[in-house]
Every structure is written in structure tokens, then in C-alpha cells.
């Protein structure tokens, strides 16, 4: 370490001896002990720094009332705990509303319903009496577009006895929180048949792939599942044997 380096370091040496224990000054202090010129310079430096420090302490005294003001501040401005701050309260309220909405949505989600119930309410009803969701297509062109929009390929799912030309209308209805796509066919004997398509997971005990025939009062139904969907053909004025002819 050169003398100049030692002096540069010792310039940061606190005049009140506070730096004595700082190991970073030891080498420079040793240099001062060994070199008279550096030692004299350091003594002069410390004497000056001490006087300047004392002088500044005397001239930079705060106004007499500042301390009282600062102490009074703790009474005037009470520390606000975080959950009492308005911004945090608003955030908490927003969170509570969000949780409520999510809970509502979660708990109001429709659970699977028994297939018997579905067959009874959809198959046994006059589908026209159920309020449709959205627009009901009125002509053949609209029907085809509606089927395409809803990814329903009637030809591939309907039995051989039902074809597109026989479709009279289509609609989507909301049944216990589930969408049911209903395609209405006009049969030759002036009777109606409805093909209802529902998400298979919406039913607790959806039928297997083999068609199941049922008679509910005056309504006849044929039900089966394929892939993710469950299908049901219902005719409120027919009998199961008439529907069987469609297959």
C-alpha cells in the first residue's frame, strides 16, 4: 500500500474513533504508524475533522419544537393496521364477492340426473311446450345450418327411418341446467318424432350403445348412447313398436 492509498482510506476514518474496530482501516493505520509523514498528516486530518464535526453539530441543531412535533405525530397519525386501510378493505370486499360468485357457480352446477327422470320429462312431454334457448330455425336451410353450427350430424346419429328431409324444426332447450338439442321429424303417418341429444355425462345412468325401448304413458321412446352423447327418440302419439320400424 502506498502512502497516497493509505491517506485515501484514512480520510474515511471517523473522527470520534468509531472506525477503530473496522478491519478495513488496519492496513492504512499500520502504514501511518510506520511512516512519520503519514502519521502527521493523519493527526492533522483527525484534528480538523473533529473540529468540523463539532462545529456542524452545533450549527445544525434542530428547531426546539421539532422533537415535540415528531412525538405528537404518533398521536395524530395512528398507525393503521393493514386490514383497516381503505384500499385493503376494498380488496377484501372484492375478494369476498368473487368467492361468493364462484361458490354460487360451483354449487349451482347441475349434477348428473337419473336417466329415468330425463326420459320422463323430455321423452314424455310435448317438446314444443318447452321454452327453447336461442333462435329456432324455420326452414330447411336454417335447419341445416343450425345442425352444422351445433356440430350435430343428424344423418350419422338418426336411425335409417329418419332423414334430413323429414326434419320439421330444431331447438335447444335447457333441462336442469343442461342443454338438450331436439330435432323434430314429421313422420309419414302425420305423427311427430323428436330426437333429443344430451351430454352423456349429464345423466347418472345413461343407456348403453344398444337401443332401449320404453313406453311411458302415451309416449314411446328409444334411447341409446354413443361417444359423449346420449340420444333418445320420442313420439308422444306412437307406440314403441312404431318407432322400432325406424331402425
Amino acid at each position: 500500500m502506498t502512502d497516497e492509498e493509505a491517506k485515501l482510506i484514512l480520510q474515511a476514518y471517523a473522527p470520534n474513533g468509531r472506525s477503530a474496530a473496522d478491519p478495513n482501516f488496519q492496513a492504512a493505520l499500520n502504514q501511518a504508524r510506520c511512516n512519520r509523514e503519514v502519521a502527521d498528516w493523519f493527526a492533522n486530518e483527525q484534528a480538523l475533522d473533529t473540529r468540523i464535526s463539532e462545529s456542524l453539530s452545533r450549527s445544525l441543531t434542530p428547531p426546539t419544537r421539532l422533537k415535540s412535533l415528531l412525538l405528537a405525530q404518533r398521536v395524530i397519525i395512528r398507525p393503521v393496521v393493514w386490514w383497516r386501510k381503505r384500499s385493503h378493505q376494498l380488496a377484501l370486499a372484492a375478494c369476498a364477492v368473487l368467492v361468493s360468485i364462484l361458490s354460487l357457480v360451483w354449487f349451482s352446477r347441475p349434477g348428473p340426473v337419473g336417466f329415468d327422470k330425463y326420459r320422463e320429462e323430455i321423452g314424455g312431454s310435448t317438446v314444443e311446450g318447452i321454452e327453447p334457448v336461442g333462435r329456432v330455425p324455420r326452414d330447411q336451410f336454417q335447419v341445416r345450418r343450425w345442425l352444422a353450427d351445433n356440430e350435430l350430424d343428424a344423418d350419422s346419429v338418426a336411425p335409417r327411418g329418419l332423414n334430413d328431409d323429414m326434419i320439421s324444426s330444431c331447438r335447444v332447450v335447457n333441462w336442469r341446467g343442461n342443454k338438450v338439442y331436439i330435432i323434430c321429424y314429421q313422420l309419414e303417418n302425420h305423427q311427430n318424432a323428436h330426437l333429443a341429444v344430451i351430454d352423456r355425462a349429464a345423466l347418472k345412468d345413461a343407456p348403453a350403445e344398444s337401443p332401449v325401448f320404453d313406453q311411458i304413458g302415451k309416449a314411446a321412446t328409444i334411447s341409446w348412447s354413443r361417444g359423449n352423447h346420449t340420444y333418445m327418440i320420442a313420439s308422444t302419439s306412437g307406440v314403441a313398436s312404431d318407432l322400432m320400424k325406424l331402425f
Partner: protein, 186 residues
């Protein structure tokens, strides 16, 4: 932060904080306001200071940041250049210091640029090591060392200039009184 800790912080640090604030702003009102702002923030945001031993550094750092934000907003920081004439003035000696008034020392400090003034006052407050000064001012330790060195040199040249002026004034006053005595004798 509870009331007792706050009170301790006020008692222990407010004078030095004020001195630091004064050295930065150069006037009593702004220094008081800076000090109050630092303590206000301690009161309202002091919960962030988990370690009570860090309160001192936190207060000085906060005060300095508030000052910098003022400076940015107002852009009215006075800027003093050291004149070339002062390079020819010899450094002040301890004896000359006796001639100087405390306020003159303070004024000499205030005439320095803020980059030298801030580390110098923290150094002369005798309360901070150079690495603490670096932390408060958010500059590297090497920068603190060089600014301290340069700042001290500049301060002492200014002090020497004042001391010479004060010494000359004292001699003039002495001569005047001698002349008055002589004229009365005549």
C-alpha cells in the same frame, strides 16, 4: 411499529436526521419537513422494518429518497461551481478553524455540490460507517471514498478562504481601533 419504538427512534435520531436534511436542503423549514416526512413514513410503513437495528439506516435512506424526489419534482437544487481561484488558496489549518464561526462552517458545507455534501454530512455526523453511507446514498463504497476525499478537499479550501477573510477582517478591526486611539491621543 409500536409507540415506544417510535419514541426511541425520535429521541435517538431526529437531531442527526435534521442535520442531514439541513445539509441537503440548506434551510430549516425544508430540513424539518424532510425529518417529519421520514418519521411519518416510519410511523405508517415502519412495519416493513423487521429488524429494529435497521431503523436508523432506514430513516436516513428514506429521508434521502424523499429529498431526491423533491429534487426531481422541483429541479431547483442550487448548483455551485468551485472557482479556479480557490485552487490557489492553501488548505485550512486547525488554528484557523478557531477563527471561523460555526455557521460559516455550515455555510461552506452548503455551498458544495449535493454529491459531496451528502456523504460529508453523514461522515461528520459520526454516526455512519462508509459502507452505511454507501447504502443510504445507494452508491458503491468506492464512490463514497472518492467523494469523501474530494468533498473534504473542497470544504477545506472554502474554509481556508473564509478563515483568511476572517483573519483579515480581524486585523482591519484591530488597525481601526489603533487608528482611533492614535487620533484621540493627537
Amino acid at each position: 411499529m409500536n409507540e415506544s419504538d417510535y419514541e426511541d427512534a425520535v429521541v435517538n435520531y431526529y437531531e442527526r436526521l435534521y442535520a442531514f436534511g439541513y445539509s441537503l436542503t440548506g434551510n430549516q423549514d425544508d430540513a424539518s419537513e424532510l425529518t417529519q416526512e421520514a418519521f411519518y413514513r416510519l410511523l405508517t410503513r415502519g412495519g416493513m422494518v423487521r429488524d429494529s437495528s435497521k431503523i436508523k439506516s432506514w430513516l436516513f435512506t428514506t429521508l434521502y429518497r424523499v429529498f431526491l424526489s423533491w429534487e426531481q419534482r422541483r429541479a431547483l437544487l442550487p448548483h455551485f461551481e468551485i472557482s479556479s481561484v480557490e485552487n490557489e488558496i492553501p488548505p485550512v489549518t486547525p488554528e484557523q478553524m478557531d477563527v471561523l464561526l460555526d455557521n460559516a462552517v455550515r455555510d461552506c458545507l452548503l455551498e458544495l455540490e449535493e454529491r459531496y455534501r451528502a456523504p460529508l454530512i453523514l461522515f461528520y455526523l459520526n454516526d455512519h460507517s462508509y459502507d452505511e453511507i454507501a447504502s443510504i446514498l445507494a452508491v458503491p463504497i468506492g464512490t463514497v471514498m472518492s467523494r469523501l476525499s474530494r468533498g473534504k478537499t473542497l470544504l477545506r479550501k472554502r474554509l481556508a478562504g473564509r478563515a483568511i477573510g476572517a483573519d483579515a477582517n480581524s486585523k482591519i478591526t484591530h488597525l481601526k481601533s489603533q487608528l482611533n486611539s492614535a487620533s484621540r491621543a493627537l
